[in-house]
């Protein structure tokens, strides 16, 4: 008898241990996946933070030119040709030029415009290699492939190795990533345009959804009569919070763009769409934090003769404000990472210029990630990873703000 019980107990205890282990293992798997995702993005983004280039001598001393009539493209081309390429035909020279970034002319223009005194002098200017040459220095090249299937042919590899042996090649931190808009050339493409686009969009979202969300939550929490209409509104809000984001994109396309004729690709429309999406989040958060204010406060205020409206605005709202702001920030963070609805309203356009107003064509940072992920150039893999890191970093900052706000101002009752 006791033997039976003992063996049964052993079984039950090992079942207990197994069960507990399953729990730990599931949690561990989930957390490991989180670490894997973040670290794989980080690891893959490393090459994007540096660029290879060389210091090119620019001869402006023997030419008699003014700032207005410089052909920067030609200037760069001529000075590159001064490097020893050993070329004697056009095709060869063209190949040689292809090793350098086509953005070099713009950078030279910026340098000279910032410092016009350079005209009439000889100076050296750091210019970037093109993405293929850059990748060659970063990863080397697979020599086993036949020449025709490689991105660089044998002659180009000889040149690149030559630069290296001469000690011309230099590795620098890539500021382009943070100061430029989008580009077809991976080495000069940056996320600034997308970040500004995202911020403009989020600003519109905040302006629209915050007042509407908070005020309608106040209405539902404090003034709404208990009737069918109020119930209907509440069910609607709860349901909207769970509607797939892409449906909001369809709404934006049909309503804002096709019906109201608002411009495509504009942060204004993106902000409108995202604010409809964020609205239920803000309403729910506001209601929850209004509910968490103890009823005694309301009763005390009512007892000394305050009206309902005065109770709400002078007592409940100040007490609930930290919670409301936290909820709003979390809602905005979600909108910040959202891309599906923006795809449908045309914010996937290729936008080189940094948007300056709410109606300029713009894209958002998550959409930029999507666009770059689709690009065939290999160098964009690292760029995309870097962009996701920037996105995650910005989201961490936003969420941190929410946490700090809550820690610092939340009242304990």
């Amino acid at each position: 008898m006791s033997k039976n019980i003992n063996s049964m107990m052993l079984k039950r205890q090992s079942a207990e241990k197994r069960f507990r282990f399953y729990g730990q293992a599931s949690l561990a798997i989930a957390l490991i996946m989180l670490v894997v995702i973040i670290s794989s993005m980080t690891y893959r983004s490393i090459p994007a933070f540096t660029n290879y280039g060389l210091n090119l001598n620019i001869n402006l001393s023997n030419e008699n030119i003014s700032q207005d009539n410089i052909n920067y493209r030609r200037l760069v081309r001529d000075n590159i040709s001064l490097l020893d390429s050993g070329c004697d035909d056009r095709k060869c020279r063209k190949e040689f030029l292809r090793l350098f970034s086509s953005g070099a002319a713009y950078e030279l223009r910026d340098t000279i415009e910032n410092d016009p005194s350079l005209i009439g002098k000889d100076f050296s200017k750091f210019i970037l290699f093109s993405d293929d040459a850059d990748l060659f220095y970063k990863f080397g090249i697979d020599n086993s492939l036949p020449e025709s299937e490689r991105r660089l042919n044998d002659r180009e590899i000889t040149w690149l190795n030559g630069f290296k042996e001469l000690g011309l090649v230099e590795k620098r931190f890539s500021t382009n990533l943070f100061t430029n808009g989008d580009s077809r050339e991976p080495e000069i493409a940056g996320v600034l345009g997308a970040v500004i686009g995202s911020l403009l969009t989020i600003l519109i979202t905040l302006i629209i959804s915050f007042p509407i969300g908070v005020l309608s939550a106040i209405y539902l929490e404090s003034f709404a009569p208990k009737n069918k209409l109020t119930d209907f509104i509440e069910v609607n809000i709860n349901n909207l919070a769970a509607v797939p984001s892409i449906v909001f994109g369809l709404l934006g396309l049909a309503l804002f763009i096709n019906f109201f004729g608002m411009p495509r690709s504009a942060p204004l429309v993106g902000g409108c769409v995202l604010s409809l999406m964020t609205l239920p989040v803000i309403i729910i958060a506001t209601r929850a934090s209004l509910q968490s204010v103890p009823p005694s406060i309301r009763e005390a205020a009512l007892a000394v003769g305050a009206s309902e409206m005065q109770v709400v605005f002078q007592h409940l709202l100040p007490a609930a404000l930290p919670g409301i702001l936290t909820g709003t920030i979390i809602g905005l963070a979600r909108a910040f990472g959202e891309s599906a609805p923006l795809l449908l309203i045309g914010m996937v356009a290729f936008v080189v210029d940094i948007p300056g107003s709410f109606t300029d064509p713009a894209t958002a940072l998550p959409v930029q990630v999507y666009l770059w992920a689709d690009s065939p150039e290999r160098a964009f893999v690292a760029k995309t990873s870097a962009a996701t890191l920037v996105l995650i970093f910005l989201l961490i900052i936003i969420n941190l703000a929410a946490v700090i706000l809550r820690k610092k101002y939340q009242l304990k009752w």
Binding site: R20, A25, L31, S216, L250, L344, L391
Partner: protein, 422 residues
């Protein structure tokens, strides 16, 4: 209190003015159109409706500046001047009208004020009404979604038959733009899309439900409060990572990894396999399952657990036989919400699942989903009358109603569960 008197005057004069402005802005384009049409030369009108519409739309965008009207060279100098004058008077007249109305209302409101007038109560009434209007926005959004989807869907079904869409097994919207083949020959059968969505959702649920549930059980029943406070927010980071990051991870790492693993086992695996998208989506969904299940399991009354433990059950037996059944409705609600989330998830599948609508249940082959199709049909050039574009709205309608049904079902089960223990 004089504040309220001032506020009363402001609200009762500005509010109608704002409503007036909103109405005006929405009919402004129409009025401009009428003015412009009266100025178009006869020679242009003879060219047909399309030409007229085009000229009206570009003139409308340039009407605020005489120089740019002239530079379009659609109108003669005289009629351009006349158009600009008309526009100018229309605008000026409107402005004057608005100011007059506002002043008049302010005057009326000011006249009302006297010692006996209860300004505060009136102000509060007006404010309450404004708040009510704001709370209607959510309802309007829902109606907006339903109306816009239904409107386009009806247009879609006037070109493609209903049964073909719901029961057809061939989906190739691209062919339908060709001349003389408008929406015929079975290219809008959505069954492969629905099965693809189901397949990916099922895979993601196979990952998310066990992992999410066991994590929730561990965190709510076993872990010490300190551990719980630490790991719960970390787990929820998974839900906070933007989906586009998951999509990129799935396309860049998971897809090729599954493919090379499969190939080393001698299987043919597509790089854009349903498995890759489903796996990554499952990871994303874990916190949606665990968070809500955690809440409902913590909410099970302490007395049930104590009773079970007192009878000699081990902790795991208590969880499996007492707490879990008691929390089941809530957990089912959580899973339903997670399914709805998985069906509506877009970026992961857009980036990691395929475009080809294959009717298959093989997780290693490429399938497509409702959301992928909506995005591919609507991104890029679109003509608004082709069944290709309209099909996206029909798919959107299906998506909306399925997720709506799941959400309502989830809400009802969770609410029932809450009522049982409150």
């Amino acid at each position: 209190m004089p504040n309220y008197h001032g506020l009363f005057v402001i609200l009762s004069s500005l509010l109608p003015c704002i409503i007036f402005l909103i109405v005006f802005i929405s009919i402004d384009g129409f009025i401009k159109g009428v003015i412009i049409q009266n100025h178009l030369p006869n020679s242009l009108i003879l060219l047909g409706q399309e030409e007229v519409d085009f000229s009206v739309s570009i003139l409308r965008n340039n009407i605020h500046n005489l120089q740019s009207i002239l530079s379009l060279e659609i109108l003669s100098t005289d009629s351009a001047n006349s158009l600009y004058n008309y526009y100018f008077f229309y605008r000026a007249g409107f402005l004057t009208l608005t100011i007059c109305i506002t002043t008049f209302l302010a005057y009326l409101a000011g006249k009302k004020l006297n010692v006996r007038f209860d300004a505060r109560r009136n102000v509060e009434k007006i404010l309450k009404f404004i708040f009510f209007v704001f709370s209607i926005v959510a309802v309007l959004t829902t109606f907006g979604i339903i109306l816009s989807l239904i409107f386009e869907t009806v247009r879609f079904f006037s070109q493609v038959s209903f049964s073909e869409f719901l029961f057809g097994i061939h989906w190739s919207p691209q062919t339908a733009i060709r001349e003389g083949q408008v929406g015929s020959s079975g290219s809008f059968g959505a069954i492969p899309i629905f099965t693809g969505t189901l397949l990916i959702t099922a895979i993601s649920m196979l990952i998310a439900v066990p992992l999410g549930l066991y994590s929730a059980i561990y965190l709510s029943q076993y872990a010490r409060p300190k551990v719980r406070n630490y790991f719960k927010p970390i787990l929820e980071i998974l839900a906070g990572i933007p989906t586009v990051v998951y999509g990129f991870f799935a396309a860049l790492s998971v897809g090729p990894f599954i493919r090379s693993t499969g190939e080393s086992l001698g299987l043919t695996v597509s790089t854009e396999s349903a498995l890759a998208a489903g796996l990554v989506m499952g990871i994303m969904i874990i916190p949606y399952v665990s968070s809500l299940s955690d809440d409902v399991m913590t909410a099970v009354p302490e007395s049930l657990r104590d009773g079970s433990l007192a009878l000699g059950a081990t902790k795991s037996e208590t969880i499996r036989k007492v707490i879990f059944p008691a929390a089941l409705p809530g957990i089912v609600g959580a899973i339903l919400l997670a399914i709805s989330r998985a069906i509506g998830e877009t970026m992961i599948v857009v980036m990691a699942a395929g475009l080809a609508a294959n009717l298959t249940a093989n997780p290693l082959s490429a399938v497509t989903t409702v959301t992928v199709q909506i995005v591919t049909l609507l991104v890029g050039d679109q003509e608004f009358d082709s069944p290709k574009t309209l099909a996206a709205f029909a798919l959107g309608l299906v998506l909306f109603f399925i997720t709506l049904a799941l959400n309502i079902l989830a809400m009802v089960t969770v609410r029932k569960y809450r009522e049982r223990y409150e």
